[in-house]
């Protein structure tokens, strides 16, 4: 019963990302360009990423073995990118860097959720496990590069329009500058990204390394 419940939670999510991946490939095959790609998939993307808040619930109730904090950071950064950057700053939607992180996210999520789904069915093909613990080596840096380049491209528009910012003087004696907030966000990737990356590398060594030793004994 527990397995069926867990399966029900992970299966739809991998299918959602597969749908998104197919939509992206089809668009590129039809149009031959990435321009307008974001616009065509944006509703689906927003739906999935907001739906991804469920991730945190999954971690809390133990369906998915990731820690709540790691999942929280991951989901927050995704929601930040989708809603506060690409949705709100229209001029950067056709940047190449957007495709970069969309591809990275899509491939990562399909791999990750297939891994969870097959694990729950106790029928995990070695390829899925291999993919889950090796793809990230390229995908993480690619995704981060895409995100950082997109935020960087957005900076001039943010500065010019003064969007999402509060200036002095005002009744509540507070101010907020979205431009500097974005700079600080970009800087925060420096301590955060290596931690997540090395965590995954350590997981990889534990899981795949252990596997190799057993095979040698056989």
């Amino acid at each position: 019963m527990v397995i069926a419940r867990r399966f029900g939670a992970t299966q739809p999510v991998s299918q959602l990302w597969l749908v998104l991946a197919i939509a992206m490939v089809r668009f590129y095959m039809e149009k031959g360009t990435h321009k307008g790609l974001y616009k065509s998939i944006q509703k689906t993307l927003k739906f999935f990423q907001t739906f991804a808040l469920l991730e945190i619930v999954h971690c809390l109730i133990g369906i998915v073995p990731t820690s709540v904090i790691v999942a929280g950071v991951q989901v927050s950064s995704r929601i930040f990118m989708v809603w506060l950057i690409t949705h709100s700053i229209k001029p950067i939607q056709n940047e190449e860097s957007v495709v970069l992180f969309l591809v990275a996210w899509t491939v990562t999520e399909i791999t990750r959720y297939s891994f969870y789904t097959f694990s729950l069915l106790d029928h995990l093909p070695y390829f899925i496990k291999w993919a889950r613990y090796n793809f990230f080596i390229i995908l993480y840096p690619v995704g981060v590069a895409g995100e950082l380049l997109t935020i960087y491209a957005a900076l001039p528009y943010v500065k010019k329009t003064g969007m999402f910012s509060i200036r002095l003087p005002n009744k509540y004696n507070v101010s907020f500058d979205y431009y500097y907030f974005l700079l600080i966000t970009m800087a925060s990737y420096i301590p955060l990204f290596p931690q997540l990356y090395f965590h995954m590398l350590r997981q990889r060594r534990k899981v795949l390394h252990g596997e190799v030793i057993v095979e040698k004994d056989d």
Binding site: N170, K171, N173
Partner: protein, 308 residues
């Protein structure tokens, strides 16, 4: 007199670290820790956690060897608590920071605001009043740390000082920046709002101090005893009838008063974050009171009368 033998093992590796023979039966854990330090000088007593069980709760310094559930050969497990720093040092550092930092903004030291405002003075009375209140608050805290508080623990982990100072100093700078800004907007309801807020602030400061004195008087100097606090002749202590930790209640009240006085959103946010933290502490304290004392007054809530 029968002597005890004490062996100390590492809680993680079970390696034998130390063997003490001819230990007096009425020796305390503190004395055993001192003996342990002689053989391992890098671990002074505050670094050490000794337990009867590798995963168990730390034994207290006052516990007597004879009274523990051990045979004449006692096995204790050692855990390294890491670099420690005294509570007094942490409190003094984390309180001195905001006092000093706020004044930097109040006097409009160069490179904070635009250069034409260097060393100028605000034309709003409330800004001067706010500086007096903020400074008074932290001077009071420093004096209480030196002369009033009686701490049950001597030390805490070293990393706490970085965490705590970042919090206190960071928020102090953030609040001070807006209150002392040349473009500061005084409260909407003017002098009335400021007077009311000042009254709340002063009452809560007096209340907080009264509670600190009452708690100090519960505990004789140098001891670590714990007793149920009760209201005294001082009206500010009557809050003990309704609340386990009225010092926290008054503290939150002071900051709410300060927020109303300055009508500054960062101050309100600081009050909210502070309230969350002291509520967690108050609930913990309330729970320990309930566990330790069977006759604990049932009407009392942890921090807010009847509610929380």
């Amino acid at each position: 007199m029968k002597h005890y033998e004490v062996e100390i093992l590492d809680a993680k590796t079970r390696e034998k670290l130390c063997f003490l023979d001819k230990v007096e039966p009425h020796a305390t854990i503190a004395e055993i820790k001192n003996l342990f330090t002689k053989t391992h000088p890098q671990w002074y007593p505050a670094h050490q956690s000794l337990c009867l069980d590798p995963k168990g709760k730390s034994l207290k310094d006052e516990d007597v060897l004879q009274k523990l559930p051990v045979g004449t050969t006692a096995t204790l497990y050692f855990r390294d608590l890491g670099a420690q720093i005294s509570w007094v040092t942490v409190f003094l550092t984390e309180y001195a920071g905001p006092l000093f930092i706020y004044l930097l903004f109040y006097f409009r030291v160069p490179f904070i605001y635009s250069h034409k405002y260097d060393f100028t003075s605000s034309r709003h009375t409330v800004v001067h009043l706010a500086c007096i209140c903020h400074s008074f608050h932290y001077i009071k805290r420093l004096l209480e740390t030196l002369f009033v508080h009686r701490f049950s623990h001597g030390t805490m982990p070293l990393r706490n000082i970085f965490k705590n100072c970042t919090y206190y100093w960071g928020f102090a700078a953030w609040m001070a920046y807006y209150i002392n800004h040349p473009l500061y907007t005084p409260p909407t309801y003017g002098a009335q709002q400021v007077k009311l807020a000042l009254a709340i602030f002063v009452i809560c400061q007096l209340g907080n101090f009264s509670i600190h004195m009452a708690l100090r008087d519960l505990r004789p100097a140098g001891s670590k005893t714990r007793k149920i606090p009760y209201p005294s002749k001082n009206p500010f202590t009557w809050l003990f009838l309704l609340v386990s930790c009225p010092n926290y209640t008054y503290e939150v009240g002071s900051w709410i008063g300060f927020a109303i006085m300055t009508q500054c959103l960062p101050v309100a946010l600081f009050s909210l974050v502070g309230f969350t933290q002291v509520t967690i502490w108050a609930k913990g304290k309330h729970r320990s009171y309930l566990k330790e004392f069977q006759d604990y007054p049932p009407l009392r809530m942890p921090i807010i009368p009847f509610l929380l």
